[in-house]
Amino acid sequence: MLIHIDSRSPEPLFEQVVFAVKAALAKGTAKPGDRLPSVRELARELAINPNTVVRAYEVLERDGVVVRRQGAGCFLSDRGSDLAQGEKRRQLTDLAKRMVTEAYHLGFRPEDVKKAVAEALDDVQFETKRRQS
């Protein structure tokens, strides 16, 4: 799994690590059960503060994307979020609203937004994810 970050991006570094791991799972370039690099390995690889990696792994664990096995390290998981179904729904609605709002301000039409979503959906391996809904 290749994790790429850009220290000059407006996005905080730990969020970039979180998203890179989630994206690798979603695109199928990484599989549940794969071992994540240790905090030290990834910090050295990306030349970033180990605290940043720890924070990213904590968020991934909270989001059910990573499980920590004592002494063995962190592994990718398809366990999914522990949030209640209603809360997940609410987050999905929020994400959609946010995207549509930003797209509106960028000057796009509804059909542009639908096309962009369809393209993004094509990139993601939905069938490999355990059904949760």
Binding site: R8, P12, L13, F14, R44, L46, N49
Partner: protein
């Protein structure tokens, strides 16, 4: 919250009639990596030397592990790793001698780490200190300080004089230290791209005090940089959210702090607003230190000549 490892509280210091620090206040929490930035002569080295008790402040106080800087005893100093600008080493020693000396004075010295790090840097134990280049001396000092397993590492521009490969080695040594021990680090630096990768928090020292003291994530979240071209009759923005406004060809380069959606909407209504994004650390640094004088809120007639082209 646990008590800070480092505190400066209103520290002032003059050299002759020249004020260098005019009330420096900051703190470093356990496990935190704090980068102290500033232009040459901003007072970074003075601050670090005051912290370690090498220099008396004229007002205010500083402490390490809750102990006043001037009261630090040998046992407290044993918990601090220090890499000074001058890279002081005994000239009559070899690299191996310096390692053995350091290992003998520090109980927690990690010999294996030191040997590995020296090997990576290409330093041999038989080399005489006097024969080392400036960069090699800097590397040796960093390796010795990190191998000493400190609770606090203080470095005065450790990357100064190092080439790109050596700087990467330095970053790796720091990353190893942080991964192993969760030690707190306070360092000054000119290499802002390195700082962006490794620091949790940055302080920018200008005119003797901190003009920025924030986490990098906070800077990314709260500061916005944009280009704004006023429509005919559109007046340049004012207000406390404006950190800096520089006149560029046909427009203004604005740096905004905590700008509200309403304030951004106002800018869009009175002109054209483009490229609104958080600044890089280098841009922020230039914004807050590139001008002299007391305030950050100032109109800079920058590159006005460029408009003639």
């Amino acid at each position: 919250m646990s008590s800070p490892v480092v505190t400066f509280d209103g520290v002032q210091r003059w050299f002759g009639k020249q004020p260098v620090l005019r009330g420096l206040s900051l703190s470093v929490q356990p496990g935190q990596v704090y980068a102290l930035l500033g232009r040459n002569g901003a007072g970074k080295s003075t601050a670090l030397r005051i912290l370690l008790g090498f220099l008396q402040p004229h007002a205010g106080r500083s402490s390490v592990f809750g102990i006043e800087s001037q009261q630090l005893g040998p046992a407290d100093r044993g918990r601090i790793g220090w890499v000074g600008e001058e890279h002081r080493l005994y000239p009559t020693m070899t690299v191996g001698g310096a390692v053995a000396f350091e290992a003998g004075t520090r109980p927690g010295f990690r010999r294996a780490f030191a040997d590995r790090a020296l090997q990576r840097c290409g330093l041999r134990t038989g080399q005489w200190i006097t024969r080392l280049s400036r960069g090699q001396r800097a590397q040796l000092c960093v390796v010795l300080a990190v191998a000493g397993n400190p609770d606090l590492l203080v470095c005065d521009d450790p990357a100064l004089g190092l080439d790109v490969v050596m700087r990467r080695e330095l970053l790796d040594a720091l990353i190893d230290l942080l991964a192993d021990t969760g030690c707190a680090v306070l360092f000054s630096s000119h290499f802002l791209t390195d700082v962006e990768r490794i620091a949790d928090r940055v302080g920018i020292l200008h005119d003797g005090a901190l003009v920025v003291d924030a986490t990098l994530d906070d800077v990314k979240r709260r500061v916005l940089r944009c280009l704004w071209t006023p429509r005919p009759g559109g007046a340049p923005p004012t207000g406390s959210h404006l950190l800096r406004s520089a006149v560029r060809r046909g427009g203004h380069e604005l740096t905004l702090l905590d700008a509200s959606p309403e304030q951004l909407a106002e800018l869009r209504a009175t002109g054209e607003l483009v490229a609104a994004a958080p600044p890089t650390l280098e841009e922020l640094f230039l914004d807050v230190t590139g001008t002299s004088g007391p305030g950050l809120l100032r109109e800079v007639e920058a590159e006005a000549v460029g408009g003639a082209r």
